[in-house]
């Protein structure tokens, strides 16, 4: 039984300390211990909740997830200490600190509740065994506790050290004491969010909402590390303070910050005293609410989410299915006259919208682009504003900023196209192989067009509108050229090495090594195309001259894709 690593062994010992108490509540402590032991062992072999995707490239068994979780949590904790450097006001420092702490912890845990902590298989595996309800519930609560401890302890260490350095080592004691109410409040917050969303939607939809929360989380983390320190340091200077406005009482992190301040250096302000009372009362009230009102239905509802039981949701009626044309159907008639290609377009269109794994991998990329653009705007220290920077004839900026805005989405849609080849359901691809298709290339062409239409066009359109407002009609040829160049880039990468049928490759086949090389090649191609574009800006009518060539090349490449025969398509063995 010594297969647990020391982190999990320590956690197990900690949560099993009040064993006598559990026994008193009617639990069989031996069984509780066994359940916890194996749950922790399984957690260690699961990709950590802080990693985005559950799939991995190599088949090597995962182990030591706990170490990664602890490490990543500690790193995240390091980012929360920046307020210690930018302001000298304790109240301001700790308000920013607790805001980040609570938000990040909540976002980390919110997905773990369904993916790690509530396991529907328990219903079939543990419940038929002679395990009492008390043992089962206590084991579950302790599992959640151990999981939370594993994240929150390393996460608060950097803050603890920063507090010690700045406010004296004695102040680390109140800091440690305040971690627990803050965490209790966060758990209450998560419960409340779950319950609220469940009230408003079905368990099935809830899963999608969860994945959007996850996507938002990844973008937020990325964005805040890129942008936040820069923004905050320009807004707040060492002398600014958050103050004692009564409205601040609606901000929970303020409560905890107030208590920290009062424990370090007491200030006689009524608002602070109220905030301090709230920080101690609210977690207790919250926990009572969780145990009394939320917990009974919570577990049950969560297992409904995890099992995705749709028994009670009657299927939607599609009476007008054939009579009314949807947007995607209308688009499909534009992109091709070939019926097979249109259906391939619709197939990929729907798969991209419905495949949770695809969204988790691709959508953050679009968020990154916006983050990159905003961050690079902030980085240029000159006084040029966004407007000035994106002016083609601006004396301050080169045309590179404009081209970057136009071409960057291409990199993401390129990545998105690569993802349309993979699915958990790859075996369903037999249907293409057994059908008597003459031109399997039509499937690839339709799918590629779906990526362009669903992911690239809206992004490009959005940026184009911004650029059009700033620059006016002079922007039009540039937008057109960028559009066709990006389409050309996609078709070239398809022809050069992605000649797979859409949605037929098993996920674990995606080889990391070649993906890196492909991404580099994509970037090179992007630089070449954008470079040609940049050179021609200087020439009068240069863009208008190259545009027909780009359109022609694009048409030719699509033609070549549709003409691919079976022996030219890279097949996945079924």
């Amino acid at each position: 039984m010594s297969k647990l690593n020391f982190i999990n062994r320590a956690l197990l010992s900690i949560v099993m300390l009040p064993a006598a108490l559990y026994r008193k509540s009617g639990a069989n402590t031996q069984q509780v211990r066994s359940i916890l032991l194996y749950k922790l062992m399984m957690d260690d072999r699961r990709p950590s909740g802080l990693q985005l995707s559950k799939t991995r490239a190599d088949k090597a068994p995962i182990s030591g997830s706990s170490f990664r979780t602890v490490f990543v949590s500690a790193i995240m904790g390091c980012f929360y200490v920046f307020p210690f450097f930018i302001t000298n006001d304790a109240l301001t420092t700790f308000t920013i600190y607790y805001t980040m702490f609570i938000v990040m912890l909540a976002l980390t845990l919110i997905t773990d509740f369904t993916s790690v902590l509530i396991d529907v298989r328990d219903n079939f595996i543990i419940l038929p065994k002679p395990v009492s309800d008390a043992s089962f519930v206590i084991a579950r609560i302790l599992h959640i506790t151990a999981h939370v401890l594993k994240i929150m302890l390393p996460m608060s260490v950097p803050g603890l050290i920063a507090t010690g350095i700045k406010y004296g080592w004695l102040s680390t004691i109140p800091f440690l004491a305040m971690v627990f109410p803050a965490v209790a409040f966060t758990i209450f917050l998560i419960n409340a969010i779950y319950l609220l969303v469940l009230k408003l939607s079905t368990p099935e939809k809830f899963k999608s909402i969860l994945s959007y929360i996850q996507i938002g989380f990844v973008i937020l983390v990325y964005g805040s590390y890129q942008i936040l320190p820069r923004m905050v340091s320009s807004v707040i200077d060492a002398s600014s303070i958050i103050g004692y406005h009564p409205l601040l009482l609606v901000v929970p992190p303020y409560w905890f910050a107030a208590t920290m301040q009062q424990l370090i250096l007491t200030k006689n302000e009524l608002v602070v005293w109220i905030a301090m009372a709230l920080s101690l009362l609210m977690p207790v009230i919250g926990m009572i609410a969780v145990v009394r009102f939320f917990a009974p239905t919570f577990n049950q509802k969560l297992s409904m989410i995890a099992s995705g039981s749709v028994a009670d949701t009657p299927g939607k009626k599609h009476n007008s299915r054939w009579s009314k044309q949807s947007y995607s159907q209308w688009l499909s008639t534009i992109i091709s006259r070939n019926r097979l290609e249109r259906h391939a377009f619709l197939f990929s269109w729907k798969m991209m919208l419905r495949n949770r794994d695809f969204k988790l991998k691709v959508y953050p990329g679009f968020g990154y682009i916006i983050v990159i653009i905003v961050a690079s705007m902030l980085r240029s220290k000159s006084n040029t504003n966004l407007f000035e920077l994106l002016r083609l004839d601006s004396p301050h900026a080169s045309s590179m900023a404009v081209l970057a805005v136009l071409y960057l989405p291409g990199l993401t849609s390129m990545g998105a196209y690569a993802q349309t080849l993979y699915t958990e359901n790859s075996k369903a691809g037999w249907i293409f192989h057994t059908s008597a298709l003459q031109q399997p290339g039509r499937l690839i062409a339709g799918s590629a067009k779906a990526v362009l239409a669903q992911l690239q066009m809206p992004m490009l359109l959005l940026f184009s509108i911004v650029l059009f407002i700033i620059n006016g009609w002079v922007m039009v040829p540039h937008i057109l050229l960028a559009f066709f160049n990006l389409a050309l880039m996609l078709t070239v990468t398809v022809l050069l090495g992605n000649r797979h049928l859409p949605w037929t490759m098993p996920v674990n086949k995606s080889n990391q090594g070649t993906t890196v090389i492909k991404t580099l090649l994509n970037m090179l191609l992007l630089v070449v195309l954008a470079g040609v574009h940049a050179l021609l800006i200087k020439l009068p009518y240069g863009i208008w001259m190259i545009l027909p060539i780009s359109i022609l090349a694009c048409w030719f490449c699509f033609k070549s894709i549709t003409n691919l025969r079976w022996h030219q398509v890279q097949l996945q063995e079924q």
Partner: protein, 256 residues
């Protein structure tokens, strides 16, 4: 002596829809019960109640002289459950998983070790004992589940489609195993769709349809009552409203 399993007037409904409508059964020790019925007849619901997975039913369910509602833990100790879907924690190895299961039954580790070694060797899985189960085929997982269900040597074994995914040789082993367990006085409650297996292993067949028992007896008795025909035909006769041949004809008519 009390019957091994007694079900008295069992009713169960989900949000107003009655799934079980007054099931009455008495199963004696050493009997192999084949529990069959069409999809949605209430087979799995009965199995879940029998294993203590479902509460909120009306009527009584007794395991020997233990009422499941009143003493669920004592009842569960006597039952071994082999579920239908290969539900197990695939991150664990069979060795870890089975020790976990043994701990939940409070079976001592040495006995558990000895038993799992022997049982998994019988299934030719001894080489995979320390391999994580995420790479296992459906059949291999099912073998581990069967082992998990039998490990604590239960008096009553409840099986829900236990042969799914097993290859022909393993099916033979399990069928033999069922008769040997019955010979030792174990009671087997076998819920399945596979008529040919039910026909061969059970010494009593219970057919349920829309929540009620529509036939109960040995295969020979059923044949006598329903005319000398296969279990498949008896099943069709008792559970289908429309002629199945008509359905096939309707399907063919789609081409016309």
């Amino acid at each position: 002596m009390a019957a091994a399993i007694t079900i008295k007037n069992l009713w169960k409904s989900y949000s107003g829809n009655a799934v079980l409508k007054g099931i009455n059964l008495e199963v004696h020790a050493g009997q192999v019960i084949g529990y069959i019925g069409p999809n949605g007849a209430g087979k799995t619901t009965t199995v879940k109640i029998l294993c203590g997975l479902l509460a909120g039913y009306e009527g009584e369910v007794w395991i020997g002289d233990i009422n499941i509602k009143e003493q669920p833990l004592e009842a569960k100790r006597k039952i071994g459950f082999i579920p239908e879907l290969a539900e197990l924690y695939e991150n664990l190895t069979p060795h870890e998983f089975l020790h976990f299961m043994a701990a939940l039954y409070e079976l001592d580790a040495d006995t558990a070790e000895l038993r799992m070694q022997k049982m998994l060797s019988a299934f030719s899985l001894e080489a995979n004992l320390h391999q994580r189960m995420d790479t296992f085929s459906k059949g291999m997982r099912q073998k581990v589940l069967i082992t998990a269900g039998l490990l604590h040597n239960p008096e009553i074994i409840v099986m829900d489609e236990p042969l799914s995914g097993l290859d022909a040789n393993s099916v033979i082993i399990v069928k033999e195993l069922i008769s040997k367990l019955a010979a030792e006085g174990k009671t087997i409650f076998y819920s399945s769709h596979m008529m040919d297996v039910v026909e061969k292993v059970s010494d009593r067949i219970i057919l349920i349809n829309q929540g009620t028992v529509v036939a109960d007896g040995s295969f020979e008795e059923l044949k006598k009552e329903q005319g000398n025909q296969s279990l498949e035909n008896i099943f069709a006769q008792l559970t289908s409203n429309n002629s199945l041949h008509e359905a096939a004809t309707d399907l063919m008519n789609a081409f016309k």
